[in-house]
Amino acid sequence: MTPCYLHKTFSFIWIIIPVFLTSLNTDRSNDQQEQKKKYNVLLIMADDLNNDMECYGNSFVKTPHLDRLANSSIRFDRAYNQFPLCSPSRVSMLTGFRPDVTGVFDLQKLFRDNIPEAITLPQLFKNNGYFSARVGKIFHYGVPGGIGTNGQDDSISWNQRVNPIGRDKAEESKLTILTPGRGLGASLTYLIADGEDEEQTDGIVAKEAIQIMENNKDKPFFLAVGFYRPHCPYVAPKKYFDLYPLDKVSVVKEDPSDWNDKPQIAKSTDPLNYGLDETKLREALRAYYASISFMDAQVGKVLDALERLKLKDNTVVVFCSDHGYNVGQHGQWMKQSLFENSARVPLIIALPGLTNGKSSLRTVELLDIYPTLAELCGLKPPINIQGKSLLPLIKNPNEKWDKPAYTQVQRIINRDKPDQKIIMGRSVRTERWRYNEWDEAKMGVELYDHQNDPGEFINLAVDARYASTVKEMAILLRKSYATK
């Protein structure tokens, strides 16, 4: 019902939007170009990628292709996900609603059960005449379990769907498992793979994405390309491992007093570092970095094709990850924590003719992608979506901006026991502060001053001098959700 209705409404908007968009584009338009002004969208997502990339300041990690993209984009340096776990984060980003609205807090719940009428980002484009296609992991997929399937896809969002599967799936028996006992999808596990990039699932993702662009280059498209790496198992061809000699990889080691002032519920990895020794952690980190570089190379191929097919000048490229990833900070690994490394994501947006490698320090959210793309392409999103268009920041990265970023996680206490209890950890990030509350502050409070303490080492919530900051941040945090 709703999509139909919207479709009618928006067909009229299309007529006026190209006119509006000429103001964004530098070159003057004639009729023929006007037709082309309808931007394509290329949304590229990585899985479990944190900001360990050269363009984000970690020069140890080689990401030449994403760096190249960043050079012609706006790079958001303070971009945050809403729930650092695949499904909740992706659903939030793609529906435009915070997890409290989608009701998706785990990997099982399907959002259509809770919000059947939602119009997803690709669905909005599809409803408005775009060719909407997905390759790989955009909605949640169990990795590696679901590779090659539709995962928890939303079929009505797409005109075409491709589910690549590569030799990594066939070679799971060869994996080196550093954390026996943990499921493959949540383990420190890697494979120095034989063969070529193209044989890996992510290599096929790139190939299929290029194919779709070739086939549809003459009509407006919304193409979502979802890579599966660097999600574990960390599988990449050997040449990517060779970029990181084991003895050059340095693992994080925290001061033993690090956890003295932090609530224990903040831990997602317990025991710290899974109790692994430095050698194993180093192996894991090398494999994670190798997977990043491998994924980066596949992104490079898609970007090359965009150029080759002369689509670059009328395609908005968005690159992001579904959430961040701890690699030993505070002894934590992976996601599901409220620390910066888990809450933060890379977010790069290339808008032809407008972005040129600048970065913005404003706090933005994955939620903001939906209204941004809708505005850029002149589509009208559902009025109740919760993000805010980033267009003002794309035009001026230093534009005044007072929207903080919110992130939440869920914890299950006394799992499978009669007194099992599910609680929420909630975080609000401003440009200076991160403030976290566990179970509405009943199970702990954290305050970190990113101006002086970007590593989040000192919890100032226990410091009486910061009582007023805590109070202000608590009010700000509560603005993001309805308290019971």
């Binding site: 300041g57 001061d255 003295n260 224990q264 900070q329 199970m443």
Partner: protein, 480 residues
């Protein structure tokens, strides 16, 4: 008039001379103090029999010379605040020093610590090992303090546990252990001749984690002989949320200690490790006591031995300290005061570690120190059966308190939730009866002892930030 004034002055000088003589005379007669602490020692020592079969021959011997206390409680169930309250006479709730990372000297710049007070009264105060929590050593408290750091480790760590929560026998001699060297400092000191009376503090670090001690101490406790504590199913079912949080979340440790222990079948091995560490510490204590016995100070030295707090080994699904239950707050206390205490006596009255400060002052004949939030237990040293109606107050974090009397144990958390245990009927604290109406008056009476001041914690120490940042930079370089 004028003459009268002069006469007054002369009389004053005269009196001062007399007092001076008395003080000097007293000083020569004043007893020395041997002040011995053991880190993380609960009541698992022979004289208190907290674990049947623990082997602590030296503590047994020490107890025979003096008095052991079967109901001695810490003022805070973790190192820094417990030690600071004992050594300053200021409760955690008055100072705001609640946690291990809370610096205490900046919040109490003028406080006179126990060794400082002895120094102000003609003593020499020397120390070695862990007396104050390491991070907050206080140079004003000592003439000289000797620090020893570093014991051997097993080849592969963690061996049986995780991180610091680990236990394993060492292929090492006692001589290589830091506690051996700490005690050696004390032995050397006792072998020397000293002009002034002394306050000698020896802080033994074991049985603090990790429990890496020479193998012979593990061999004292064959695994098949180990008995795990008595527990009941769902012991936490009647505990308020704050209490459960304490059970499952320990500062600086792991919220999954007990889960880890069960899943990895480490309960007996962990207990074996703790017992081995206790017996190792006891052996070092023995060397110190032997040295005192051989020294010139044998007859004129008061000995106080104390643990800084209790330790859970699975009771209430909890490990370590960091809680307000009996296992976390009760610890060991033995006092030897020749001539005052009847040898081999046991006192079952409730006492607090904070009582040590005023008691030592009184035992040594120092002027009374005003403002201490504790009382001398000298009357109990003279008569352990004396009626004694003072509860022990323990504080863990702001506004969480325990009030322990001989019969009752009352806990009040900051959200006003409560626990009450009747030790006459329930020595293991299995049944929280706080909600039963018939105990309302009991609770009301116990609550009158709750501290009236609950100070805010001190400002965070910025040097800690630098230290943690540096550590990450050292290993990571690019990660900040």
């Amino acid at each position: 008039m004028r003459n009268k004034k002069n006469w007054k002055a002369i009389r004053l000088v005269f009196l001062m001379l007399i007092f001076q003589n008395i003080i000097t005379a007293q000083q020569t007669a004043r007893p020395n103090v041997l002040f011995i602490s053991l880190d993380d020692l609960n009541d698992w020592i022979g004289p208190l029999n907290g674990y049947k079969g623990v082997k602590t021959p030296n503590m047994d011997k020490l107890a025979k010379q003096g008095m052991s206390f079967s109901k001695a409680y810490c003022a805070a169930p973790l190192c820094n605040p417990s030690r600071v309250s004992l050594l300053t006479g200021v409760r955690p709730s008055t100072s705001g020093v609640y946690q291990n990372q809370h610096p205490w000297r900046p919040t109490m710049p003028d406080v006179i610590t126990l060794p400082q007070y002895f120094m102000a009264n003609g003593y020499d105060a020397y120390g070695a090992g862990k007396i104050f929590h390491e991070t907050f050593h206080d140079s004003a408290s000592w003439r000289k303090f000797h620090q020893v750091l570093g014991s051997p480790k097993p080849e592969k760590v963690p061996t049986n546990g995780f991180a610091n929560f680990d236990w394993a026998p060492l292929n090492a001699n006692d001589e290589e252990m830091e506690d051996y060297k700490i005690v050696q400092y004390g032995i050397d000191y006792l072998n020397e001749k000293h002009e002034s009376p002394f306050f000698l503090a020896i802080g033994i670090r074991k049985p603090h984690l990790p429990w890496y001690v020479p193998k012979k101490y593990f061999d004292l406790y064959p695994l098949e002989s180990i008995v795990v504590p008595k527990i009941i199913e769902n012991d936490l079912s009647d505990i308020p949320a704050r209490g459960k949080e304490m059970a499952h979340s320990t500062f600086g440790g792991s919220s999954n200690d007990h889960k880890f222990i069960l899943e990895n079948d480490q309960w007996k091995k962990a207990i074996q490790g703790y017992l081995a560490a206790i017996s190792f510490a006891d052996a070092q204590l023995g060397r110190l006591l032997d040295a005192l016995g051989r020294s010139a100070y044998k007859k004129n030295t008061i000995i106080v031995l104390w643990g800084d707090h209790g330790w859970h080994l699975g009771e209430k699904e909890h490990w370590r300290k960091f809680a307000l239950w009996e296992e976390a707050i009760q610890t060991s206390l033995i006092v030897v005061a020749p001539g005052t205490i009847k040898p081999n006596s046991v006192c079952g009255r409730v006492v607090s570690l904070m009582d040590i400060y005023p008691t030592l002052i009184e035992l040594c004949g120092l002027p009374e120190k005003k403002g201490l939030e504790a009382k001398s237990i000298l009357p109990l040293l003279k008569n352990p059966r004396l009626e004694w109606n003072y509860p022990a107050i323990t504080t863990y974090g702001r506004n969480n308190h325990s009030v322990r009397t001989e019969r009752w144990h009352y806990i009040r958390y900051s959200d006003n939730t409560e626990e009450l245990y009747d030790h006459n009927k329930d020595p293991y604290e299995w049944k929280n009866i706080a909600s039963e109406q018939k105990y309302a008056d009991t609770i009301k009476n116990l609550a009158t002892w709750l501290p009236k001041i609950n100070a805010a914690p001190p400002p965070v120490d910025t040097s800690l930030l630098r230290q943690r940042q540096q550590m990450r930079r050292d290993t990571m370089g690019i990660k900040d």
